[in-house]
């Protein structure tokens, strides 16, 4: 993937999206250079391991030419792409959880291995984030890390706006308690 800085920054997202609809290989290349890392990090916030997050990013990029048929250029492409990634990651997590319930014996070992490798434990805040219940962590990540609005979070997670707000405040309280107890 040999791309100059101009390749990555010059064409607009809208132009690239239009080209990708026609399965333009160069457009895929540039969009990957532009968005893959933030999307990988975003997916990782919802999943246990980098491997799983990479699976999600793969699916997102492979599925983009078809998904783009429903993208209208009046919205920000990056924001739309992040929403698609969150939905794909949540879908991936749900199917993983179904598999995990079906194979309970495998669950603890796999969990331990992935958590050990996880970036979440490298930084104190990441560590504290990892201790949050999943429902609170999802809302916290979407609001404070990805800057979605409460309305957007409610739509993405299928919850009420008020529920999203309450979960965010609970997450912050728990996070603060956790960070203070780590000192």
């Amino acid at each position: 993937m040999l791309l100059s800085e101009a390749d990555v920054t010059t064409p607009s997202d809208g132009e690239l999206a239009a080209r990708l609809k026609c399965r333009d290989d160069d457009a895929l290349c540039i969009l990957y250079a532009r968005f893959a890392t933030p999307l990988l990090r975003l997916a990782l916030r919802f999943l246990d391991s980098v491997d799983e997050a990479e699976d999600v990013v793969q699916d997102v990029f492979v599925g983009l030419p078809i998904a783009l048929r429903h993208y209208e250029e009046h919205g920000a492409f990056g924001a739309w792409l992040r929403q698609v990634t969150v939905r794909t990651a949540l879908m991936h997590r749900r199917s993983r959880e179904r598999r995990r319930h079906a194979h309970v014996a495998l669950s603890p070992a796999r969990r331990a291995a992935t958590t050990q490798d996880s970036v979440l434990e490298r930084v104190a805040l990441e560590g504290a984030l990892a201790t949050l219940p999943q429902a609170l962590r999802d809302v916290f990540v979407l609001y404070h890390v990805e800057h979605f609005s409460h309305a957007e979070i409610a739509a993405l997670l299928g919850i009420r706006r008020g529920t999203a707000e309450v979960r965010l405040h609970r997450a912050i309280r728990q996070l603060r308690t956790q960070l203070e107890s780590d000192r």
């Binding site: 893959a36 739509a155 912050i172």
Partner: protein, 361 residues
Amino acid sequence: MSRWIFHPGDADLARYVDNCDTASQRKASVHLRRHLADCDTCRAYVTFLRSLPERIAALEGPGASEALFARIRARYASGEVVILPAASNRAPTSRLAWFGAAAAMLLVAVTTWFAWPTPDLTALAPTGDLRFAPDRIVSGPIELRYRDPGLFGGTPQLRVRARYRTVQGVAVPFLGGEPVVATLMRDADGVYHATVRVPDSVVYAAFSVEGPNGSRVDHNGRRPWHLLMYRGTHPTYEALLQYANDLMEENSELAMSVLQERARLYPDRPGSWWPLVAVERFTLGGAHADSTVAEHCARLQQFDAELRSRPSQSLAEVWDVWRYAVQLHDRACPAAQHINDVWHTWLVQHSHAGATQPEFH
């Protein structure tokens, strides 16, 4: 004196930090500032909230690798198809809606259970070959030719049952189930022949073949042999709707493909689109519906604008645009609610007793 007798809530403190600046919040924040001056606990919490963006920005994460791109490219080059859950602004579904959907599915299941006699047959039962000449509904006789797949053991006569539908979706005859409309006679080559006449009002007819005592039935693997009314080279708009209606009870995927074909043949009629939205949502689920809502929303607005621009509107036109809006008004289509309201009011004012439109079930 501080307005806050107790500590302010998390939401108040968060709004204070986020500078949500409405008049009432500005007024509240004056009191809040006074409280913060006196309260170490709340001040510490606000300090923590303010530190979050910087701390979060410092978080590290993995980078996307060349190897990952190589894997994506390989899948991309292989032409693999991945359907993504495209973005949606849909509000959470209410419990009432879930209850309604469950009740509708139960009704469909019960109707399917009782709708078609299937003695002795399994999904693996062989199906025969029933052909028509001409292969469409005409006012004269229609020749039937049937090849037995070995289901009926060479019996000299078989019976043909039919289910008829008119433009209004009414079954003919109205009561009594599917009537026997012809008797197939076996010739020397083992092929069965019969002639049938379809009533003039019928636009869609479905057929099945059964043995002399009705204990064995060939319904073509639940894809009933059928005849449609044609205009020129294409089935009529009305016939395709009745075909889809008939299939919805037994084979929603096939019903969906019929409605897709109808929309392809008659894209300029709003009545082509709203049944398709409904059956796609039923068959493919909410995620698919979300992914197509923008396209439908734009089309709905175009139909609405055309309808408004006319000096007068017919009940049928308004009905179809209104039904299209109804299908979209709980989706991410802000215009649909307004269109729904406008034409619903029109319908209430203009409809009269007995004025009905062909329904999609």
